[in-house]
């Protein structure tokens, strides 16, 4: 239990900081402020970060490459295309419907990426993330073109640059679904670990490979959609948190999934707190902060690890 002490203490400190930080100061209505704004904002950052980190590790196991994450598979860009279509064609659709369409499009986007990835030689671990970047870039460009033509650029901007300043009670509760999905992933943690051994080995162990992979990717799509619709997209969280945990504790997801979720949540909350501090009382989007920090960690990973070779 001792090794949990430091991460948990750091997380508690971050939460306390996040709760006490803001343009409004605590007065008579401190409790109201906490309930309506500060707690929701803190919970949203933790849930979104945990979800993105878990989605990241699932994608990494599926493609057997540590340098890939959902935002390098076209999933968020595809989901944005779906949301643009909804905004144009059925602007009155309920949030649940938007989520469903965004998740479906994210899944289709990832399926396209996996079809591309299956044709790539696996010797060079850098190829998968680079192809993912190009693929996501193409989908993103289509989105920009569509949004520009339809005069929806402000929507696209909000999705592409995730931040938490708009989070209030009643406007983030969908993110709690991530907690349920995290529970589901914990139940199938062994199966997800076995996916990472590669298809032949996984099937030889009696795993229903196609079914497990499909289930994992559906969970990733739903998480992507939940986060995107509620608070916008964040790069690198799905890359950084799983990689740091793997370096520290290894690849056994039964033991490490809670830590990966915790790490992702702490990372995004830290990014949000830093974004609130830098130009206090103004704010910098958490996505911007995480992009700067995450890019640094990504470069370090590239330098330090050849990624994961494929069998």
């Amino acid at each position: 239990m001792r090794r949990w002490l430091f991460p948990l203490a750091a997380l508690a400190g971050l939460i306390a900081l996040s709760l006490s930080l803001g343009a409004a100061s605590f007065g008579e209505d401190a409790g109201w402020l906490l309930m309506v704004s500060r707690l929701p904002r803190t919970a949203a950052a933790l849930l979104a970060g945990a979800g993105l980190a878990l989605a990241g590790v699932v994608v990494q196991q599926v493609v057997q490459n540590r340098l890939v994450e959902p935002s390098l598979t076209g999933a968020p860009e595809a989901a944005m295309l779906g949301l643009l279509a909804v905004t144009l064609l059925a602007p009155g659709l309920a949030v649940a419907g938007k989520m469903l369409i965004a998740a479906g499009c994210a899944l289709a986007g990832m399926a396209g990426y996996l079809a591309l990835a299956a044709r790539l030689p696996r010797e060079d671990p850098m190829l998968l993330p680079i192809v993912g970047m190009v693929y996501g870039g193409i989908l993103g460009a289509i989105g920009v073109w569509a949004a520009w033509s339809a005069d929806l650029m402000q929507y696209l901007g909000a999705w592409r640059l995730g931040e938490f300043s708009g989070v209030m009670q009643g406007r983030y509760e969908w993110l709690w679904a991530i907690a349920a999905l995290a529970g589901l992933l914990y139940v199938i943690a062994d199966r997800i670990t076995i996916l990472g051994l590669g298809e032949a080995q996984a099937r030889s162990l009696g795993l229903d490979y196609a079914q497990t992979r499909a289930l994992g990717l559906v969970v990733v799509s739903v998480i992507t959609a939940l986060v995107l619709v509620t608070v916008g997209a964040f790069p690198f969280v799905g890359l950084v948190a799983p990689n740091l945990v793997a370096r520290w504790r290894g690849d056994n997801l039964r033991a490490n999934l809670p830590l990966i979720a915790l790490g992702g949540g702490a990372l995004l909350l830290a990014a949000d707190v830093i974004g609130r501090l830098i130009r206090y009382p103004f704010e910098i989007p958490a996505a911007t902060v995480i992009a700067v920090f995450g890019a640094g960690v990504f470069l370090w990973l590239l330098h330090a690890a050849p990624g994961r070779r494929h069998g």
Binding site: Q64, D190, R191, T193, I194, G196, L197, G198, A200, Q201, R203, S204, L205, G206, L207, D208, A246, R247, G250, D251, N252, P306, R308, R309, H310, G311
Partner: protein
């Protein structure tokens, strides 16, 4: 017993196996030899139910690996694929433990722990049990993966070129271990080998393949003749004897 009847397999439009019909008896080590591209790995994948043949049938101890539930298949036959070069950060004990997955499906019991211990000991991995796979040498890593296949506790173990990337000492040790398992543990081992002398020294039976067909199949002593080897590999061989064991040398 493995019974294969008129097995054809194509990868896309490229035919790989052309009508394989054979029977592999239980017990001992059966080596698959043949030149590159003969279809040895493909045959192993078809037997283990991982690649669906375009026609023909496979039965392992009477079961059809393509129709039985995955879990039952995984308790009958275990495949170790060629060079699992995957740089995993699983610990050795965790990796070997996944060999028990078809038995416990996520809830390991004392029997599973005992089997893992046995597998670690059988492959001399006790001292490495807590090490991460990515910190091991190639030979140690190979042993860890074979120990996982062994822990799966199936009557049939299929190993695809497990001697790849092993130096002579580790290759010899591994063959000796497998030989002992086939005797003491009554495992039936089917193994793809590129080193004909490893087959000559350790295998009980040899299946020689070429161009997606079986050219010859017999006990090691009977099969290893210069004539057969020449036909299989398109190159002349001499057969010598050293300390009672056959040794073949490409001329």
């Amino acid at each position: 017993m493995i019974e294969i009847a008129d097995l054809h397999y194509s990868a896309g439009h490229t035919p790989i196996l052309h009508g394989i019909t054979t029977t592999l008896e239980r017990g001992g080590i059966t080596a698959l030899i043949g030149p590159n591209g003969a279809g040895k790995s493909t045959l192993l994948h078809c037997i283990s139910g991982l690649e669906k043949p375009s026609s023909g049938s496979v039965r392992i101890d009477g079961i059809d690996p393509f129709t039985v539930p995955h879990r039952q298949r995984a308790r009958t036959v275990a495949l170790l694929q060629q060079s699992p070069a995957l740089v995993s950060r699983l610990k050795v004990r965790e990796l070997v433990g996944f060999g028990r997955w078809p038995h416990h499906q996520g809830r390991p019991g004392p029997e599973d722990a005992a089997q893992i211990d046995r597998a670690l000991t059988a492959f001399a991995l006790d001292d490495l049990a807590g090490r991460s796979i990515d910190t091991l040498s190639g030979g140690q890593r190979q042993r860890a993966f074979i120990a996982m296949t062994y822990a799966q506790d199936t009557p049939w173990m299929l190993l695809d070129e497990p001697l790849n990337a092993l130096d002579p000492r580790h290759a010899r040790d591994l063959m000796a271990r497998l030989h002992a398992l086939s005797r003491d543990d009554k495992r039936s081992i089917v193994i793809v080998l590129h080193d004909i002398n490893a087959a000559a020294g350790w295998a009980d039976h040899i299946v020689a393949m070429k161009d997606g067909r079986i050219l010859a199949q017999d006990s090691s002593a009977a099969l290893l003749t210069p004539e057969v080897l020449r036909e299989v590999f398109d190159t002349p061989f001499d057969l010598l004897h050293h300390k009672g064991r056959p040794v073949v040398v490409a001329r």
